[in-house]
């Protein structure tokens, strides 16, 4: 297996007296799809926040592609190639679908106030290549006909797809999906699974936080199980049933997930 792209070591975070994350240690190799599961309140989302810069750990380390992420701002981490999503889709509501996806492209240099004034024409020309790429991405996620709609008018499922289109446009090295299947029907769920697989096929590393176990079983190479802020198991999904603590904490005795 290739060396770990993301390494988390003894990560700890408390909110007041609540130990949200305790000495959490796990790693994800490059190119893998990893599932992060566990009961509500296990600390999964806190780990996602700490990794992506939306929270500051009390102690421990997070290393991404050999660089420490501790203390870095979310935008810095994002620019290093790690994109995360949120439990509810956070589309830019009053921007068009096209603009939403265009904004996910790495076009930071073009967003200078000064150059927007002095080189407007040149910037527009440069942007054409990005627009073409975004049109292809919208096609891939069945959003092409909606490109000039405001994102606020999309249905819940379309918003999920828009989130995936943004990720595709950002071309990140690593993706952390926080409950991508929340409130999603089976048909759309299959499409989301397919999108995750495609990201993996493109060589991107993915972490999926999810409660939908059939989904996790189908798409993940390994699973990390958390409970009460700690990692209680890590390994292939098939092995989890043999771990009593996982069964007690999460799977339950008579778990049928067909």
């Amino acid at each position: 297996m290739s060396p770990a792209l993301l390494e988390i070591e003894r990560l700890t975070k408390s909110f007041g007296g609540v130990h949200a994350v305790r000495e959490c240690t796990f790693s994800v190799p490059e190119g893998q799809v990893a599932g992060l599961i566990g009961p509500n309140g296990a600390g999964k989302s806190t780990v996602v926040d700490l990794v992506s810069g939306f929270g500051l750990a009390d102690s421990g380390s997070v290393t991404f592609a050999g660089q420490s992420l501790v203390g870095k701002r979310p935008d810095v981490i994002s620019r290093l190639g790690l994109i995360r999503t949120f439990q509810t889709p956070r589309e830019w509501r009053n921007l068009t679908v096209m603009d939403n996806v265009l904004l996910a492209r790495r076009q930071f240099a073009r967003e200078s106030l000064w150059r927007s004034i002095t080189r407007a024409r040149r910037i527009r020309r440069e942007e054409e290549a990005d627009r073409a790429a975004v049109r292809a991405i919208l096609e891939r996620f069945q959003l092409a006909d909606l490109k000039n709609e405001l994102a606020v008018r999309l249905s819940g499922g379309q918003k999920r797809l828009l989130e995936f289109a943004r990720i595709a446009a950002a071309e990140p090295r690593m993706i952390i999906l926080d409950e991508p299947m929340g409130g999603v029907n089976p048909v759309l769920g299959a499409r989301i699974g397919q999108a995750v697989r495609q990201f993996a096929d493109e060589g991107r590393t993915v972490i999926v936080v999810e409660h939908n176990l059939p989904f996790i079983e189908k798409i993940c190479d390994q699973v990390i199980v958390m409970d009460l802020g700690e990692v209680i198991a890590q390994g292939p999904f098939s092995g989890l049933r043999a771990t009593p603590r996982v069964v007690d904490a999460y799977l339950g005795m008579d778990q049928s997930h067909e």
Partner: protein
């Protein structure tokens, strides 16, 4: 001449409103310090051009600079003040916390200027900038006012073109993404503070420019000219015209200013109640805000989304301003499919 004066004032405020719209309309920051920037721009223009104070009048600097240089320096001073206030208020504070902080800042500034006479002559204010360059240009008083209106309109047009260009640029789009969802913007690599800060300084520069022109327009300036209520009118104008749409903002300012000035001019003014007119004006502004928010929250001209490609052009022609696009049924996931509740596994 009356109309020249009304239009000049409206044009100056339109420049101010364009700046405020960048801060509030695009970046989403409800700034209450903004009128202070107009005031400082105005004060600075005075003290840089009208020469040394003669006792008992007191103020700082007392320069005799050429007007254009003074205007540039006044704008620079305003940007410096905004840099300080913005650095504190924009760092972590948002929404009402940001608004209250900026209100505190402008109130402190107001009290300082009013009570510390050596700064800008306190309550009595500064004066003496009467039609700068009138003799050099060999104009009559009225002729000067007309030429000045022309100059202000040209500056307004330039400011509009500048803001419009920015509005459609990647910078404008990035700023709006920060307004719509800051966390998502950060997750996609946007430096939220820096984006808001740059917008704030840009907006303040326009306010300083407006203040400078205002100084020439009214030729005297004291604290009663910039009470916090004045800003409410600018916000009302942006709301009426269309937040985020530069053309709408200018239209809004003209509608609100000329509408209000004209409406209240013909009102009866009972001798026993001299404050009847101004009071009614405030009520009308409030009423207008409520009605706009209720019936046309996007304003007369709504913010124009960046439309893409040929379909965008067609849509632009077929869809006159203001009308809402019908929710598109075509493409994507059928809405009915969404009705089914998610089949979440154990959890």
């Amino acid at each position: 001449m009356y109309w020249v004066s009304v239009i000049t004032e409206a044009a100056v405020f339109a420049i101010l409103a364009l700046g405020l719209d960048v801060v509030w309309g695009w970046a989403g920051d409800f700034d209450l310090a903004f009128y202070g920037y107009l005031a400082l721009g105005s004060y600075m223009t005075f003290v840089l051009t009208i020469g040394k104070p003669v006792a008992p009048v007191q103020y700082i600097i007392g320069g005799h600079l050429p007007l254009l240089l003074a205007m540039v320096l006044a704008v620079a001073a305003v940007v410096c003040l905004a840099a300080v206030i913005g650095a504190v208020a924009l760092r972590n504070l948002r929404d009402i916390y940001f608004a209250v902080t900026t209100l505190g800042a402008v109130s402190a500034l107001y009290l300082l200027v009013e009570n510390y006479t050596p700064l800008f002559n306190g309550y009595n204010g500064v004066y003496g900038l009467v039609n700068p360059g009138q003799t050099a240009l060999n104009l009559t008083y009225n002729g000067y006012r007309i030429v000045f209106l022309g100059v202000v309109l040209v500056i307004l047009a330039l400011a509009y073109l500048l803001v419009q260009r920015l509005s459609r640029s990647p910078f404008g789009r990035m700023l709006r993404s920060v307004r719509e969802d800051e966390r998502a913007a950060a997750a996609y690599g946007r430096r939220v503070f820096s984006a808001k800060y740059r917008a704030y300084l840009f907006g303040a520069a326009l306010a300083g420019l407006a203040g400078s022109l205002f100084a020439i327009f009214i030729s005297a300036f004291n604290p009663s000219a910039w009470t916090p209520q004045e800003l409410l009118v600018i916000y009302a104008a942006i709301l009426v015209g269309g937040r985020g749409n530069p053309r709408g903002v200018i239209a809004g300012v003209f509608v609100v200013y000329i509408g209000l000035v004209e409406l209240t001019r013909f009102l009866p003014s009972p001798a026993s109640r001299p404050d009847f007119g101004p009071a009614l004006r405030q009520i009308l502004i409030g009423l207008m805000i409520v009605l706009m928010l209720k019936f046309r929250p996007e304003g007369l001209f709504r913010e124009r989304p960046g439309l893409d490609g040929a379909q965008g052009l067609a849509a632009r022609l077929l869809r006159p301003f203001g009308t809402r696009a019908a929710p598109a049924p075509a493409g994507g996931v059928p809405a009915a499919e969404e009705q089914a509740a998610g089949d979440r596994g154990a959890g």
